[in-house]
Symmetry: C2
DNA sequence: CTGTTAGCGCGTTCAC
DNA sequence: GTGAACGCGCTAACAG
């Protein structure tokens, strides 16, 4: 049992140093109103016993846990993984811990997890919540302080988000410039705000180009969903496909390859997110680079402001950069 | 403010129901020795106030937090992401929460995080700890209950691990069968136990095949490290390369492609882990499928046993399945 | 400057 | 069956 054995309590240290509890507490918390020699005596007693204040007890009395909760819809999604990574590292740099919860794309579970994890922490970061608007609205009041990632903010709830609408708009514009006039869009989680933003981009494009048709197809959020959508895509006669995200686009790309469909000659395919492996598909995937880790870091920064009693910006927006790669090109005909 | 507002305490409920604190506590914990009508009165008061017992206070008095800590070397590594996902979902299914810490491949920070997160939780799961053996040894005593993932276990510390040695051995065997006699191995984190296991596999292969040479090259753990290793690899004259993991192999594969080196004709490349995107490189990557999510789930299962006072198996081993894809083939000459 | 006291919110003996 | 009292380990008022 090393000196870091965490079994000793503040009482042990007090007795060992021949002082009162308060004095130990003062020393451990760097309170300067303590006699230097006495302080030293306490310190050596503490280190001899390997004493560290029990975080639980401190949390109870101080009313803060130095921990925040993060709820994500899917820990298997590269974008949420990147958000979590950026968030976790930023929080750690400020001495905070992270309690993680994965709702597995279940929007009922999402609210439960939010409340439950929030109670054990000082604040909550909700990533791309799938729950309906009214549910979210009532939830937010109960879990403050809370920061939203990739979902429209409302009064009192700061948010950080990528501008999916502009970015998708840019992708479409580029493809239109290449000559595409018939598009298919593979929609993702219907309840996600970013899907709504993408749909708005489609509307923008339709309004800007009366010669252009965009067919919306029900899709999913993962690789298999994209692969399964191939037949539906072909039926639309589209020359270019916009995937909900890179995973979906990669699934479609893969299925197209197996079917002998040439990309981009027969079909242009664009993804969204620029996950780490988007550049390794064949052909490499055109996509929009969402700075996920940065999003996570900013979400923490906003939460940190809230925790310190300051006012963070209500909304921080990042416009993803379009990354043109080999999966898109001019239509063959 | 909805009914789930978590501001009320057990005292509020007691007053509201006209009973004592103890009675409320009994009702909330399902203690049957309470008059049914009184219990009902308490329950309605509780739901009216949106009361839920403060988890912190419960943790302090009960001595358990319903939370476990997980320390990983790198949240950006797909394998650890998968372990975390499997772990988190398994723990959630048993009503436990997960506190996550990312050591960012810093083995000094690793020990600090382990102790620090352990104190706020009921147990610790250490994933592929990079710290030296003696440091780990003394740490383990201080953080029990603890479960190791992908590092050799010792008395009193259960572990779950993939058998890297056998799997790499199999890959080499396969390549040797194809005619390869000169190999390069791109080593990863020198402190990781799985790197040691891989080196043992190289020894096995050398002993089994006196006609075979395997050159060890210092590499890293990520894509860029693999790409940077190309020149060194070419200098060895190897016809086949064994990457520390898929990331490294993919980096090399990509660099080779840009240099006009044909894979597998000029160079066979094998990875390790079978991360989700290994099948999407061009050519698709030969690798060994480490069941990472399963590893995580089993790690939780072992921890759960520990928490319930039972004895989990000291070591659960999984042998990764070899997945042969297009990045390996017979040497050209 | 230091020790004593009173909670933080809850579970749990222990008497009634 | 029920309530009063104690303690989990700690911090912060309050006296001295």
């Amino acid at each position: 049992m090393g000196p870091s054995s965490p079994k000793s309590t503040i009482t042990d240290v007090a007795r060992h140093a021949g002082v009162s509890l308060s004095t130990v507490s003062r020393v451990m918390n760097g309170n300067p109103t303590v006699d230097p020699v006495m302080a030293e005596r306490v310190r050596s007693a503490a280190s001899e016993l390997g004493y560290t204040a029990n975080p639980l007890a401190r949390s109870l009395v101080l009313g803060r846990t130095q921990t925040i909760a993060v709820v994500v819809p899917d820990l298997g999604n590269p974008t949420f993984q990147a958000i979590l990574r950026g968030l976790s590292r930023a929080a750690a740099a400020d001495g905070y811990h992270v309690l993680i919860a994965d709702s597995v794309e279940d929007d009922a579970e999402e609210a439960v997890l939010a409340v439950e994890t929030r109670r054990r922490t000082d604040g909550l970061i909700l990533c791309a919540p799938r729950m309906p608007e009214h549910r979210l609205e009532t939830l937010l009041a109960d879990v403050a302080p809370v920061v939203l990632v990739n979902r429209a903010p409302r009064a009192g709830t700061p948010a950080v988000a990528a501008d999916y609408r502009s970015a998708l708009r840019e992708i479409i514009e580029h493809l239109h410039g290449l000559g595409h006039r018939r598009f298919a869009y593979l929609s993702g989680s219907p309840r996600s705000a970013s899907n709504a933003a993408r749909l708005a981009a489609l509307e923008d494009a339709r309004a800007a180009h009366r010669d252009t048709a965009i067919v919306e197809l029900d899709g999913g959020v993962d690789f298999d969903a994209g692969a399964a959508a191939l037949d539906a895509v072909l039926e639309t006669g589209a020359t270019a496909v916009l995937g909900f995200n890179d995973l979906v686009a990669m699934g479609l790309l893969s299925a197209a390859g197996e079917r002998g469909i040439r990309v981009p000659e027969d079909l242009s395919i664009a993804g969204f997110d620029d996950i780490p492996f988007a550049r390794f598909t064949s052909p490499p995937l055109t996509t929009a680079a969402v700075p996920a880790a940065e999003l996570g870091a900013r979400a923490w920064a906003a939460m940190h402001e809230l925790l310190e009693g300051r006012d963070p910006e209500p909304l921080q927006t990042f416009t993803p950069e379009i990354v043109l790669r080999g999966s898109t090109g001019a239509p063959a005909s």
